[in-house]
């Protein structure tokens, strides 16, 4: 039987439904596009400004930083289109006691709770980021081989999973202490740091951006894949870290769920 | 007694809104970007009335009748499309500070208090806003707190107050500068009966002490009945009635209700009027207003009557019927 694929098919169905929902508001697409383009233009201007004063930044060339920027925009699109909206919905559901609806469905609750929302227009950034990334890949001198392309793809996937784990842990662990808007604001602020390779930050900040807020994995590592800097050992380490964090959030989810069930009973 | 200038003077007041008109759907939405079509709607369609100093007038009408629009024009928030409006001899639309210091507008459900601070701090803010001399401020504040039976609640942050307590604070705050003219838009909405009663009593007391002029809208007939001798009924932007509340029935209700309890029982009384109910020996009759006393006298003469009452139809029912009738006509 195809049982193992069933949850994924379910997630896909959810995606499709919410995408169809949002397709009704096409004006939002143009607004989002304008906003994305203004943001990209600003980022490019900043990049040009930095490189009008220097030839390289912490060992990275201009085109390599373009690749970092591309990944940053792309991953930002994924976060705003999928991760943040689902976490927001999760919090709203817990607050209003409507999570029960998700829990009573015959599917894995964590997966279900993580794939219900899909803001398709926020995904415009995924496209914009991909374009910037493609331009960067063409311009980076080291030819992008099949292995580095594969390394990039794997690193990107790992990065997305890590950011998801981070958000879920934050959502479960912190929402009753601080307001959600504050978490979003704080994350958006810190995420801006990922526009630059984490290697330029001083040691204590770099550790924070790697393990506390996984910007290093989410942005810098995939960009290293494109620019041919990524080696197998680092990628394996990232995979191990991802697996560990995934297991941790799974445990956190179950603990949180028990608490929720206890509270609402 | 010499005729005094009215505090509120409204003559042929009119407010027309232009509302964009478009059909649903994406295509219509896009078309309306280029070329908008409008329709004129008369929210207030030429009304006139005067209110004398110290009068308390009820302003009645169903939702969308034009009550709030009128109150907004009287307090200077909206400019009239045409017609004359003067409050305390001024044009409200000019919003002169010295004018604004003499009026107040209280809207139920609208919070003007500092949410996170004790009520006293909001009062203090109003003192500064209205430039109330400290001595006068203290006196008025203590008087209002006392009248509304506020007690220690004034030291409680607004967010911790109940809806009714918040409304009391709202009203007290709106009266600190001792306005001469009060516009009260649904001041008791959403409150429980006890609190409604308390606020009603308070308004009456404030009016008596300071001879303030009050124009009041309310969905609760009890408010109107307790406070206003005069009512202005407005519907579809036009005045249907302006006069004594007690006479409202005379104009709109052609019948009176007679309840009679007969000692001999069982008699058919339908020759006297329309029988609407029969409960044992008690019969309820509807008779034309003008015939009521004659019918009562006849009943007393021809039958053994142990009890007899003549009643006007309750005001709520009259008003409800008036609006219902107007709605079908519109």
């Amino acid at each position: 039987m195809r049982e193992p694929l069933r949850p994924l098919r379910l997630a896909w169905t959810f995606f499709r439904i919410s995408a169809l929902n949002e397709l009704q508001y096409r004006v939002n697409f143009f607004l989002q596009l304008v906003q994305s383009l203004v943001a990209v233009a600003t980022a490019l201007a900043v990049l040009a400004l930095v490189f009008s004063h220097t030839a390289q930044l912490g060992g990275w060339s201009r085109d390599e930083l373009l690749a970092v920027l591309g990944v940053h925009i792309l991953m930002g699109g994924v976060i705003r289109a999928v991760i943040q909206p689902n976490m927001q919905r999760l919090i709203d559901d817990v607050r209003q006691g409507t999570l029960d609806y998700a829990l009573t469905k015959p599917a894995d609750a964590q997966l279900l709770a993580s794939t219900r929302e899909f803001r398709i227009w926020q995904g415009v950034d995924v496209l914009v980021g991909a374009v910037v990334l493609a331009v960067a890949a063409v311009r980076v001198e080291a030819a992008v081989g099949i292995w580095s392309a594969l390394g990039f793809a794997v690193a990107l996937l790992l990065g997305a999973i890590l950011v998801y784990c981070f958000w879920l842990a934050l959502t479960i662990g912190a929402f009753w202490i601080v307001r959600m808007e504050f978490i979003v604001e704080l994350f958006d602020g810190v995420y801006q740091a990922g526009r630059w390779p984490v290697t330029i930050y001083p040691g204590w900040l770099r550790i924070g951006f790697t393990f506390l807020v996984p910007i290093a994995f989410a942005v810098t590592l995939p960009a290293e894949g494109v620019t041919g800097r990524l080696d197998g050992a680092t990628l394996a380490g990232a995979a191990a870290f991802t697996a560990a964090l995934l297991a941790f959030t799974r445990w956190l989810w179950r603990t949180g769920l028990r608490r929720y069930a206890g509270a609402s009973a | 007694m010499a005729q005094r200038e009215p505090d509120i003077h409204v003559a042929d007041l009119r407010k027309t809104f232009r509302v964009p008109e478009r059909e649903g759907g994406l295509r219509a939405a896009l078309r309306s970007l280029a070329h908008r079509e409008y329709r004129d709607v008369d929210a207030v369609a030429g009304i006139s009335f005067d209110i004398a100093p110290g009068e308390v007038v009820g302003f009645l009408g169903p939702n969308g009748a034009g009550k709030t629009t009128t109150l907004k024009m009287l307090s200077g928030l909206l400019h009239p499309t045409s017609g004359a409006v003067a409050v305390l001899g001024r044009a409200p639309a000019r919003r002169e500070p010295s004018f604004l210091r003499q009026i107040t507008l209280v809207m139920g459900n609208r919070n003007q208090l500092q949410w996170d601070l004790p009520v006293l701090d909001s009062f203090e803010m109003n003192r500064a806003i209205y430039r109330i001399p400290p001595e006068e401020f203290r006196r008025t504040r203590d008087e209002l707190v006392d009248l509304l039976d506020f007690g220690d609640l004034v030291r409680t942050p607004v967010r911790n107050l109940s809806l009714g307590e918040r409304m009391k604070a709202e009203i007290a705050g709106a009266l600190l500068h001792r306005p001469r003219v009060l516009f009260l838009d649904e001041p008791t909405i959403g409150l429980d009966v006890t609190m409604q009663k308390r606020i009603r009593t308070f308004i009456a007391e404030y009016n008596r002490r300071h001879e303030a002029t009050v124009l009041l809208t309310s969905h609760y007939m009890a408010d109107i009945a307790a406070l206003c001798r005069r009512v202005v009924v407005i519907h579809h932007g036009e005045i249907l009635y302006d006069g004594q509340l007690s006479a409202l029935g005379d104009q709109f209700e052609a019948v009176k209700t007679i309840s009679v309890t007969l000692g001999d029982g069982g008699t058919d009384l339908s020759v006297y009027g329309e029988v609407t109910a029969r409960d044992g020996a008690t019969v309820t009759l509807k008779v034309p207003r003008a015939d009521a006393s004659r019918v009562a006298a006849t009943l007393l003469r021809d039958h053994v009557v142990s009890d007899l009452t003549i009643e006007d139809t309750p005001v709520e029912d009259v008003i409800e019927r008036v609006f219902a009738r107007e709605a079908t006509r519109a």
Binding site: Q192 | G76, L77, H79, Q114, A128, Y130
Partner: protein, 276 residues
């Protein structure tokens, strides 16, 4: 008793400002935790700029355009205070203000609403400054800024941050009042804030910008709300430049106040015609 005499006894406008500021201080002090969290979150932005430009400076043998990492640190630490001074009533708040009837309530008061906003946010600043001091101390320990502050600079800075506050209050009020005519304002705001980011000195010290950008920024208000006050304390401006800067601020305050008055008049005429 005449109205004028009553005004004088009650203290008039000064009393109004004092009372509203006091209220703001009490209210915001209740929210010191939230205020603090917000300020900490805000710090990532200048830290990123600081790290990038320090890295560039070191790659260039110790300085960019004569600015050393220590001076960058000074610039971006003062930045955090100036940014906090720059927080005023947001243009995004106007839609809610109109929709929920707060504006009507403000219109019923015998005081122009801008006085309330100016007073409230000015009061809030005092809470912010107190909370900012320990943050500045931590940042200084970490990033080792180099300061050379003369008494004149200190005085001019104290005035200039309030000038910046006034200018930005007026500009964003004007921007927010566009809501009187249309509620589709987000793209406009986005463009405004992007221009501000690039032309104010928020992103980088303006001397690092191409000369034409510098020329443009001189004739726009942005620089006088951000870069100028920072440079007063962290930079090395001559006394003449300090005073000219203050004079330009005065000019922009006057122009901003005139703009607010004009647009307000038109906006309220429209508001009173169509309601809400």
């Amino acid at each position: 008793m005449t109205a004028v005499a009553a005004d004088r006894r009650a203290g008039g406008m000064a009393d109004f400002y004092r009372t509203v500021m006091r209220t703001a201080v009490i209210e915001q002090f209740q929210y010191r935790a939230a205020n603090y969290a917000y300020m900490v979150g805000m710090i990532t932005e200048p830290v990123i700029y600081l790290v990038v430009w320090s890295t560039v400076a070191r790659a260039q043998g110790g300085a960019v355009e004569g600015i050393t990492p220590g001076e960058f640190a000074a610039y971006y630490i003062v930045w955090t205070l100036v940014r906090n001074m720059n927080i005023v009533f947001t243009p995004y708040g106007w839609e809610q203000r109109i929709r929920e009837g707060h504006l009507s309530a403000m219109l019923l008061r015998p005081v122009h609403p801008i006085h309330y906003d100016l007073a409230f946010f000015a009061g809030w600043k005092f809470v912010v400054i107190v909370l900012w001091l320990p943050l500045a101390a931590v940042l200084s320990l970490v990033f080792r800024p180099t300061f050379a502050i003369t008494p004149l600079e200190a005085v001019v800075f104290t005035v200039a941050i309030w000038g910046a506050y006034l200018i930005r209050s007026f500009m964003l009020w004007v921007l927010g009042m566009v809501t009187f005519w249309t509620t589709r304002v987000s793209a406009l705001y986005e463009l405004y804030f992007t221009a501000e980011l690039l032309l104010s000195g928020r992103l980088v010290p303006l001397v690092l910008m191409p000369t034409w950008v510098l020329a443009v920024s001189n004739v726009l208000p942005f620089r006088w709300t951000f870069g100028f006050p920072i440079e007063v304390l962290a930079g090395d401006l001559a006394p003449r430049e300090l005073l000219v800067g203050l004079a330009v601020q005065v000019l922009w305050v006057a122009l901003g106040a005139a703009l607010v008055a004009g647009v307000w008049r038109l906006g309220i005429a429209r508001y009173a015609a169509v309601g809400n």
